[in-house]
Structures are given as structure tokens and as C-alpha cells.
């Protein structure tokens, strides 16, 4: 098969796939083409799509490759699809971050870091399959240990867990920024 031909096949497969496709899966479908070649062709496809006239991007996510819309066109896509995706609240994001960096971790350990109860948040995260119970900890009560899922990697555009941004050491942490949505207390008192 011609090189360009294979590249075209790969693009078609990417288009119809429901989730990220692994190089292994491509190799199974397009038989006779070695993984190395597939890898190179995918990289080429990736840079082809970087042209400003293209509305798609090829991302490496959750151990595979997936076609996604260009970030710059996000507003237009949202307009077409209608509806507003539920924004993830801070409690959910913080809990998810703790689980991502510290997995496997128990609910009690998460609560020790956040200083608040995380029951409701854990339920939500389990329902959205962003986390799962991976084991039980060998301590009294045998609590569940939680870890993140492939859906988590897909949601945040991560290749794998090592692709998470490096966690800052505690001595690198600067003074906290006031988040924009915090209203100063004085103002709150007036209203």
C-alpha cells in the first residue's frame, strides 16, 4: 500500500472511532503495516492538521489517538450543540486533583487534605466514571482506595498519568491568589 493511502485510512478510522484508538488497534485493522510506520504517519497527520485552515486536531490521549475540534472553534461548536456543559465546581476539581496525584487514596485521606467531607463529591466522581475504587486499604474498616480512570485522562487531555503537570513542592508555593470569584468580606457585609 502507498504511504498516502495508509494515511488516508488512518484518518478515516480516527473519524469513526468512538474513543481514542491505540497504535496497536490501528495495526490490527490495517494489517501488514508495522506500528512504527503507523506511528510516523499519525505524527504527520497531527502536523497536517495544525494548519490554521483546519478545524480538527489529532491529540494523543488516554494511551491512544483521537480527533478533536480545534480549541479556537470551541464557541462555535458549543453554539451548534446547544446547552451548556456543567462546569465542574471547585470541590469536585480539588478532590479530583488530590486523587489524581495521590492515587490510590482513601476518602479519609482526601478529607484530611481538604479539611472537609467529600462523600457527595466522591459519589459524583464515581457516577461520572472519572474515578473508580481500585482496591481496599489494609487498615481497620478496609476502606476503598480510589484511582482515576481513562475517562479522566480523556476529560483533561492527558496521555497518561505521567502527563500530569508536576506537582509543586510545598516550599515552591507562593502566597495564594485570591480567586476572581471571591468577593471581599467588606463587600459581603454591605449587601
Amino acid at each position: 500500500m502507498e504511504r498516502e493511502e495508509v494515511k488516508s485510512i488512518l484518518e478515516s478510522l480516527l473519524f469513526v472511532a468512538d474513543g481514542p484508538l491505540t497504535v496497536q488497534r490501528f495495526a490490527e485493522v490495517v494489517d501488514g503495516i508495522d506500528k512504527e510506520t503507523i506511528h510516523i504517519l499519525l505524527q504527520e497527520l497531527q502536523s497536517d492538521l495544525e494548519a490554521p485552515s483546519r478545524g480538527l486536531q489529532l491529540v494523543e490521549v488516554a494511551g491512544g489517538y483521537q480527533l478533536r475540534t480545534a480549541k479556537i472553534n470551541g464557541e462555535w461548536v458549543k453554539k451548534l450543540l446547544g446547552g451548556r456543559p456543567a462546569r465542574m465546581g471547585r470541590a469536585t476539581l480539588e478532590t479530583l486533583a488530590i486523587i489524581a496525584y495521590r492515587q490510590p487514596i482513601t476518602k479519609a485521606e482526601i478529607e484530611a487534605i481538604r479539611g472537609v467531607d467529600v462523600d457527595g463529591v466522591i459519589t459524583t466522581l464515581l457516577e461520572r466514571t472519572l474515578i473508580r475504587a481500585v482496591a481496599r486499604k489494609d487498615v481497620p474498616g478496609r476502606p476503598f482506595l480510589y484511582g482515576t480512570t481513562a475517562e479522566f485522562l480523556q476529560l483533561f487531555n492527558l496521555k497518561d498519568l505521567t502527563d500530569l503537570p508536576t506537582l509543586k513542592d510545598t516550599d515552591e508555593i507562593s502566597l495564594p491568589e485570591i480567586s476572581r470569584d471571591v468577593i471581599p468580606l467588606e463587600q459581603a457585609e454591605e449587601s
Partner: protein
């Protein structure tokens, strides 16, 4: 009303403390406990005035702050503790917790700034949902299934020979078999599944294999109308879920006949 909602953005006592430290431009490693305690308690008062429920953890932190404040008033090394080292600061534990929390708070912000799927970037479409089955089909109740199973068992010749050979059919084998059929033809009639089955045990093992696969949502059991023929079909993600289950089953197979 909007004030009520916005004040809830304090994710907990640690978050509120970090906010107060930042607002007063204090050093996190040298917190003036008296000032912070005072402001912390004032904020709790405010929350209560606004008739917000102050969660228990906020009160625990208030107690912790007051405790630290009282310890700070004691001369160093003179509080009766034998095991406390030179240079012990009652604030240390709090500072450690604040820094640790701040770390993950920043990590959460970093995650939020990534290209989030279905917020910033989109894929072609979501995977087909289980609910969106073919029109006109309905899920079969477990009672209908049992009735169908009874019909199959009743079909067996009554005056059968006494079985003496030990049959080696496992649920796992039957699961694999059923998956193979569905990979080849996408759906099969419930009756046909048992066509070649000749013993009571094999019928039951086949039935259990089918239930296992329904349980993990690898297959669906549907029928077009009440009391109509029952069909078994591959679910949207049959191969994805089935693979794990069949492997798991390999560990122990209590139904082996």
C-alpha cells in the same frame, strides 16, 4: 441571595484561612495567630448572620485556632510537655496543612486550564447510549426469561438415559461461545441459542452465562412485542466489557459442571 451563593465558595476552613492570609498579605510561615483567629471568627459570625449553615469543620478549625493561640502565649518549653523539641512552634501543623491544601488547589486550577473535553474541545459524538436501542424493542423482564428457560427445559425428552459421563462445560466457555456467535451475527434468538443443547446442566450453564453477560452489559436481551420471540444482541461496547469479565471468570468458576 447572590451573596449567599457566593460566600459558599469557601471550600472549607483551610480555604477560608488561605483567603484571610492572602487578604492581609501575611506570610504563610509566620501567621499572626491572634489576628487570623479574630478574623476567622468574625467571618463565621458573618456567615451565621447571613443564615448560612456553618459546617462542623469550620467550628473544629475555630477551636484549633484558639488552642494554638493559647499555646503561643505560654513561654517556650514551659508547657509541661516532655517530648517537645526545642523550637517547636504550635503553628507548624497548621502551616503544613495549609501548604498541602494550597498545593492541590493549584493543581486543580492547572487541570481546569487544560483543554477540557466537551467544554473547550469536542469529539465527533458521544458513544451510543444503551437507552437508545432499536425502536420498538423492549427489555425483557427476568420473569419472561425464566418462563422461556422453562419452555426449553420442558422440551427435553422426559425418559432420558441416566447421564454417567462427566460433562465439562463451564460458564466461562459458554460466555466465550455466546460472544463468538454475537461477533459473527450480531443477534441470535433465545430459542436458537439452546438448539444444539441436549442436557439439563448445559441449558442451565448456558443460561447463567447469558445472565453474566447481561449483568456486565456486554449483551442485551430484547423482544419486539409482549410474548414475542426473545432476541439476544450485542451491546454497544460488547468487546470492551466482555474481555475483562471472561478473564475474571477464569479465576474461579463455581458453575463448572
Amino acid at each position: 441571595m447572590s451573596t449567599r451563593v457566593e460566600l459558599e465558595i469557601f471550600e472549607g476552613p483551610l480555604d477560608l484561612l488561605l483567603h484571610l492570609i492572602k487578604k492581609n498579605e501575611l506570610s504563610i510561615s509566620d501567621i499572626p495567630i491572634a489576628t487570623i483567629t479574630e478574623q476567622y471568627l468574625a467571618t463565621l459570625d458573618l456567615l451565621q448572620t447571613l443564615s448560612l449553615d456553618v459546617a462542623g469543620e469550620f467550628l473544629v478549625m475555630a477551636a484549633t485556632l484558639i488552642h494554638i493561640k493559647s499555646r503561643m502565649l505560654l513561654p517556650a518549653g514551659d508547657d509541661g510537655g516532655d517530648d517537645e523539641e526545642e523550637g517547636f512552634d504550635p503553628r507548624d501543623e497548621l502551616v503544613r496543612r495549609l501548604l498541602e491544601y494550597q498545593r492541590y488547589k493549584e493543581a486543580a486550577q492547572d487541570l481546569d486550564q487544560r483543554e477540557v473535553l466537551s467544554r473547550d474541545v469536542f469529539t465527533r459524538s458521544a458513544s451510543p447510549t444503551e437507552e437508545a436501542g432499536p425502536r420498538g424493542f423492549r427489555e425483557v423482564s427476568v420473569f419472561e426469561l425464566l418462563a422461556a428457560l422453562k419452555r426449553i427445559i420442558d422440551r427435553l425428552p422426559k425418559d432420558t438415559f441416566h447421564e454417567v459421563t462427566l460433562e465439562k462445560i463451564t460458564v466461562r466457555e459458554k460466555m466465550t461461545h455466546l460472544l463468538d456467535i454475537l461477533r459473527a451475527q450480531n443477534s441470535i434468538l433465545f430459542e436458537s441459542l439452546f438448539a444444539a443443547v441436549s442436557s439439563r446442566m448445559e441449558i442451565i450453564v448456558t443460561f447463567l452465562a447469558m445472565l453474566e453477560l447481561v449483568k456486565v452489559r456486554a449483551i442485551r436481551i430484547v423482544q419486539e412485542e409482549m410474548a414475542g420471540p426473545i432476541k439476544i444482541e450485542a451491546a454497544a461496547d460488547m468487546d470492551g466489557v466482555a474481555e475483562n469479565v471472561v478473564l475474571d471468570q477464569a479465576e474461579e468458576d463455581p458453575y463448572g459442571a
